[in-house]
């Protein structure tokens, strides 16, 4: 396929030959849907059946990896344990909604949380509360009461920082009152296609504009308001297949990874991006350059937008 060939050339260090990369822009790096990667992913959230209308002990001491298979210290990294109840959605619908980031607050019919201030690895349902209202286990956690999703998160901001998750399924026939949350690696099933995208050409202007992007990597309408970060990665001696095959470690694989928090809008100045104390000053090297727009508040960790950049010849 033409695009694959073109990208293959690009990855071997020959710039400016990919689709969309045959002209050097005079203005900012202008991103469009054709530049975006394709991501197909689904969540396979484990289900733990418990007794209904009874208090349940929750233990997350075995959560040593999150859904991106990154290492987790269950005591130090899990700050909030939340239980969300969806009144009218099935487990499958919740999984699909989490994957596509389109669940609404009104889908939820209850939320309680436990703040892990003591850096422990266990709590109980009855210890959870929200706005001062504790959960009445006997009436609120029952078979047929809805779909119950347990979220373990880093940080205390609701909806941000989920590391792993599990469905709790109260059943009258069950006597189980102990939930052991499994490690998150494997919950997220995905494929990332970076071969089919058109790389974005880069000129002298080190600003980027994504106002023309309409869809995210899953083909859903992109919500610019959710974009709150930009990553600019340089991958020395790596191929696109390497990155695709280890997509969840996109950040750790980078030779140099610049990041830039975004507060809104559809453009950014790349010279504000930093890698530690190192400020991005321009494109250089023979490796791959990747640009991603990220969403820290999305349950699906896949970047809504990700593309490869074609620096000008001789950069």
């Amino acid at each position: 396929m033409r695009t694959e060939i073109a990208l293959g050339l690009l990855f071997s260090g020959c710039s400016g030959t990919g689709a969309g990369a045959d002209s050097v822009p005079t203005g900012p790096i202008t991103l469009a849907d054709a530049n975006n990667y394709h991501f197909s992913g689904s969540l396979n959230v484990p289900v733990v059946t418990t007794a209904s209308a009874r208090d349940v002990a929750i233990d997350w001491g075995q959560v040593t990896q999150d859904i991106q298979c990154h290492t987790v210290d269950p005591a130090a990294d899990i700050d909030t344990v939340g239980l969300v109840r969806f009144g009218a959605l099935t487990q499958a619908q919740v999984q699909a909604g989490l994957s596509s980031n389109d669940l609404q607050q009104a889908d939820m019919s209850g939320y309680v949380q436990y703040q892990n201030d003591a850096a422990g690895t266990s709590t109980t349902l009855s210890a959870m509360s929200f706005f001062g209202t504790p959960v009445d286990v006997t009436s609120e956690y029952v078979q047929g009461g809805g779909t119950y999703l347990l979220l373990l998160a880093t940080g205390t901001t609701p909806g941000v920082g989920a590391r792993t998750l599990a469905f709790l399924d109260p059943e009258d026939a069950s006597t189980n009152t102990a939930v052991t949350v499994a490690s998150g690696c494997g919950v997220l099933q995905f494929t990332a296609d970076l071969h089919s995208l058109s790389s974005a050409p880069v000129g002298a202007d080190l600003s980027v504009d994504w106002s023309g992007v309409t869809a995210d990597g899953q083909g859903n309408p992109i919500d610019d308001a959710k974009i709150d970060g930009l990553l600019l990665g340089y991958y020395e001696g790596q191929t696109v297949a390497d990155i695709e095959g280890d997509f969840l470690n996109l950040e750790s694989r980078a030779t140099t990874l610049y990041s830039l928090p975004l507060t809104g809008g559809t453009s950014a100045d790349l010279t504000l991006a930093t890698a530690g104390t190192q400020v991005f000053t321009g494109f250089s090297g023979d490796g791959l350059w990747m640009l991603a727009l990220t969403c820290s508040r999305c349950y699906n960790p896949a970047p809504p937008f990700l593309t490869l950049l074609t620096p000008p010849t001789g950069a």
Binding site: G87, L103, S129, F131, T157, P158, G159
Partner: protein, 463 residues
Amino acid sequence: MYQNRRRRFSYAGVVAVAAVAGCDGEGLRPNGISELQATVSEVIPTVVTVSWKTDTALTGHVVFGASGELSTPEETVASTEHSAILLGLPASTDAEWTVVMSDGHSETGVVNTGTLPNTLPSVTATGTHDEYTVTSVLGGVTGPAILDPQGRFVWFYPDSHGLDVYRARLARDGKSVLYNAANVSGTPSDSSVIVRVSLDGTEESEIPVPLLAHDFVEMEDGSIVAMAVEFRDAGSDTGDTGAASQIRGDKLVQIAPDGTQTDLWSSWDCFDPATDIGTDQDAGWTFANSLEYDATSDGGSGAFELSLRNFSSITHIPRVPPTSGSRCDWTFGTTAATVTPDVPFLHSHQFQLLHANTTNDVGSMLIFDNAGMGNASRAIEYSFDPAQPVAHKIWEYDPSPSIFTFVLGDVARLDGGDTVVDFAVSGEIDRVTPAGAVAWRVNTALGYGFGFMTQTPSLYSSP
């Protein structure tokens, strides 16, 4: 005939100040208008301040918006120096504005508003609405906010107190927004405050009011009456600790414009913890959760109406204490009730007493009922007469699919008869017709909700 002039003012990421006068070297133009500036607020980039001068003392106003549908109020005092704040503009929008003077002269420009923080939730809106919603955002970010009739955020001020914001109101001074920063999750905060922030977000002042609860009202004289938690000793020994146990009640605190605070009312003024026992006593005794000031009540002398969550009751507190009898002259609901509903409500939040006349409290009571149907919330309205022992349900709205709003919730009856129902922490606000049809609906993405709300047809109208 003077010609309108069109100038472009741009937003450059932080703040844009563009002066027209002198741009073309003409200074004072033939229409007598000079030194035009349009300044996008650095703090709230949907707010634009337009200032200008005239060669003679005049009054004026600014017409603005995508199609000139908005207008600032006409200035009340003629002057040669003028300023107007443009409110109601969405983010990232080219907005045309026209200064219109009382002598008929005008000048036009265009300004591009900036972007609001991307920490705000995504909001989807369907249907049509014609009011602004003054509310707060809770969840991933918190602060007072205003939605326009299209469901777009047109004003947002991120609160920095590390507490929650439950209520925001346009202030009576026409220049600011009032909101509370408090914590009703478990232990109330000693650091809670009432905050006043200017409409452009550049000025903030606060009044510490320890143990603030969910709600407050601003009185006609500019004072504020707020709900706060009050602890009193139960008078009994708890044994092991040797300390007297405490009862968590509520009080109303009046905060004068100079900051002086006076307790107006206490739960103990009307109720007895030994005999008036509601639900969920572990969380508190009365647990007040919303407040209204009813200026037309008591023959115009005014009264406070306070919802008590753990009583599932709303009590009526005349502003002028009665010379005899209970400090609360009627209580509608379950615990300590003088009027009971034929269909019970449970843990209600906001409500509205809709007077049938101006001489008494007869009319109807519209209530946000958190849990009267179990795990489903609704708006419910009763025919109400405080002299009658039973109030009968006359209307209700249950959304489909059902929504369970376990905290907060609000209702408002609009002039045309529609009702706005705020499912608050469930992140949905519905405008429904008397027949229960949804005319307008907004939803937030998972992780965000709304606080209480007020509806207003104009951001320039006095509350």
